[in-house]
């Protein structure tokens, strides 16, 4: 078994595919003031802690984790909205933080983000036309009214909206699904190469969720986009992504092919989330077993739960052994292109018997 650190993951990708984005040793720490006025202490929240990964051209990558795992912060860093980080983010070989002038504008053109909550991310006082034409004006320098009108209606059609019906409506006149389509159209306006979708379906109904996922899927194929989907929902990650990154408290705990990671995970955290995902079946004996198994696992998210040393997951891990309390596990390639940071990976024995 090769033991390769994840910094090399991009090289480990299929040969011939270039990484469009490379993230290396990325850390984001927030300082938090605690205590009284006179007795002030600073405590550091490690939102992202030494994260490295690569994104291949035209792949779709899901970043999965619970709230507080740093997934949104990571997305914001990549989109260039948060520059307070250490480490490096390279887009097509260029350090994102050093981009200035036209190169920076170009970066913003090529890397666009769809935000979590369409109810809040669209300005309530701007019409759909104005929302979508703003990036065209600012990033693409398009100022001709007719051309703008034409481009906006083309974009609206592309996301499945009727341009004449919605063009001059305000966001509150649209349903949740329509609003999310408008924010997708806005993100597509400057013709991006990399689309970052931060929980694009969390706020929607199940039928709408599916529609938006299928829309993203279609757009990805038509425009040969690279898509990063940030989500906490494993089911949607499994459907829409080629590869998944599982994050826990600012660390990557598992990376690999979506189908493999989500059916045969190595990391106990991935297993925990998988077990918790609602399934369409009736209570059976196996549920009782899994319930009993859960009892030992504390699931409260708490900064205090961050272990002082050893594996970050050890306070919640039911398989933790002595080494887990002492040594922090490295993200290692456990099987081909499937990385996990765990001393006692699950489902490993099964592999051995297969081999």
């Amino acid at each position: 078994m090769s033991s390769m650190v994840v910094g090399q993951i991009t090289q480990a990708g299929e040969n011939g595919i270039n990484p469009i984005l490379e993230v290396k040793d990325l850390s984001v720490h927030f300082n938090k003031l605690r205590g009284t006025l006179l007795n002030r202490r600073e405590s550091i929240v490690k939102a992202i802690d030494n994260v490295s990964f690569g994104v291949n051209q035209t792949e779709s990558l899901a970043i999965v984790g619970e709230s507080g795992s740093g997934k949104t912060t990571l997305a914001r860093c990549i989109a260039g909205l948060n520059l307070e980080f250490s480490g490096s983010i390279k887009y097509r070989g260029q350090e994102v933080r050093r981009l200035r002038g036209n190169r920076l504008i170009n970066y913003h053109k090529e890397v666009q983000m769809i935000f979590q909550d369409p109810f809040e991310s669209l300005s309530p006082r701007e019409s759909v036309f104005s929302i979508i034409s703003t990036p065209l004006k600012l990033l693409c320098g398009e100022n001709d009214k007719h051309a703008l009108h034409e481009k906006v209606s083309k974009l609206l059609e592309e996301v499945g909206l009727n341009p004449t019906a919605v063009m001059f409506k305000l966001p509150h006149e649209l349903s949740g699904g329509e609003k999310q389509r408008v924010s997708i159209a806005r993100a597509l306006a400057p013709n991006p190469m990399l689309l970052i979708a931060d929980e694009p379906i969390t706020m929607l109904d199940s039928a709408q969720r599916l529609n938006i996922l299928l829309l993203l899927d279609r757009l990805k194929a038509e425009r040969s986009l690279t898509v990063i989907i940030v989500t906490h929902d494993l089911a949607s990650a499994k459907i829409s992504a080629d590869r998944v990154i599982i994050m826990y408290l600012g660390n990557i705990v598992e990376v690999g092919n979506a189908g493999v990671v989500l059916s045969k995970p190595y990391h106990p955290y991935t297993q925990l989330v998988l077990d918790s995902t609602p399934k369409l079946h009736l209570p059976s004996a196996s549920d009782k077993v899994s319930e009993e198994r859960d009892q030992g696992v504390s699931t409260t998210m708490d900064e205090k739960l961050r272990a002082g040393r050893g594996c970050i997951f050890n306070p919640r891990c039911k398989y933790a052994t002595d080494i887990c309390l002492q040594v922090s596990p490295q993200l290692l390639e456990q099987s081909r292109l499937h990385f996990a940071a765990c001393h006692n990976p699950l489902n490993k024995d099964m592999d051995a018997s297969v081999n």
């Binding site: 599916l210 499994k238 609602p278």
Partner: protein, 312 residues
């Protein structure tokens, strides 16, 4: 609750949120889930049961009875007694329904003292007991809501709803803002509480998959009307109404395959329900002549199962 209509009136238009809805809880420890997309009237239904509809909403028709007394005719004082003691509600955004400048324990103390003549110290002891039942330890009881995580706040709200041992608990999307791991915990907490205390539970959600191992019965709502009711086990695997079928087919689970996924033409805009045709007609793949001419009524199709569809 029988034949209830609720409408929301604005200057421009009035919207019928509930259209002749009837529904009953036959006995104690009856658990039912109400499913539907946003705007289908599920929350309005929960609010109606508490007589908590506020203007611009108005209960136009029908009555809601609890043990023979009409809730809609109760005055403010009777209502105060009825709410919390008999029926309590866990709200959708429990994260925000706690008072930020009050300690968690004080929320419960206040409810207890308001509804009984408990002394402060007794109420406090009881509050700590209640919090302990939902898994919040004593040393956290005096924390403020912002010091709690989302899941803990949700537990606190459940403890609050259980404070006066109500007979019925209405939970309105209690987990929609939470992570799956926490969600599962809250659901199993609810399930245990309901079992131990012989509670009746009305669980309102838009995710049908949550109901599987929580409730026994389900009600599917669409545009302010009940389109299907029945035991959850039957409803999930053999839906009678095409809308239920659609809900189930769009469900994303770990077993779903991308290839089987079809685009769903979901309703995007509110339109007034017609009087003489089926409300689901525009999205229904089985629609035939009769569906355009006659509005189907909710009627029993198999034993214990009802649907409003002409196909049966």
């Amino acid at each position: 609750m029988s034949n209830v209509c609720v409408e929301y009136k604005t200057r421009k238009l009035s919207i019928t949120a509930l259209n002749h809805v009837s529904f009953s809880i036959p006995n104690s420890s009856y658990t039912v889930g109400i499913v539907g997309e946003s705007g289908s009237g599920k929350t309005t239904m929960g609010m109606t049961m508490m007589n908590a509809i506020e203007p611009p909403g108005r209960i136009v028709e029908g009555n809601v009875e609890y043990n023979g007394s009409d809730i809609l005719r109760m005055n403010e004082r009777e209502l105060r007694k009825f709410r919390w003691r008999e029926v309590s509600m866990v709200y959708q955004s429990a994260m925000n329904s706690l008072n930020p400048v009050k300690k968690i324990s004080d929320h419960i103390v206040e409810v207890l003292r308001e509804h009984s003549d408990m002394s402060r110290s007794d109420a406090r002891a009881r509050a700590i007991e209640l919090l302990d039942e939902v898994g919040i330890r004593k040393n956290r009881a005096d924390d403020y809501p912002h010091e709690f995580s989302g899941g803990m706040r949700q537990r606190a709200v459940i403890a609050l709803a259980l404070a006066l041992s109500p007979k019925i608990m209405i939970a309105d999307e209690p987990t929609s803002a939470l992570d799956v791991v926490v969600q599962k915990q809250i659901l199993s907490l609810l399930r245990n509480r309901v079992r131990e205390k012989n509670l009746s539970l009305i669980f309102i959600t838009h995710e049908i998959s949550l109901l599987c191992d929580l409730v026994e019965n389900a009600i599917v709502m669409y545009r302010g009307e009940i389109v299907e009711t029945g035991p959850i086990a039957k409803l999930l695997f053999d839906p009678l109404h095409p809308y239920t079928e659609m809900l189930l087919s769009t469900l994303l689970t770990l077993e779903s395959k991308k290839d089987n996924m079809k685009l769903q033409s979901a309703r995007e805009h509110y339109t007034q329900n017609g009087e003489n045709y089926c409300i689901y007609i525009n999205s229904c793949k089985y629609a035939f002549d009769r569906c355009r001419k006659e509005k189907p009524v909710l009627r029993e199709i198999q034993k214990g199962r009802a649907a409003s569809c002409h196909r049966w």
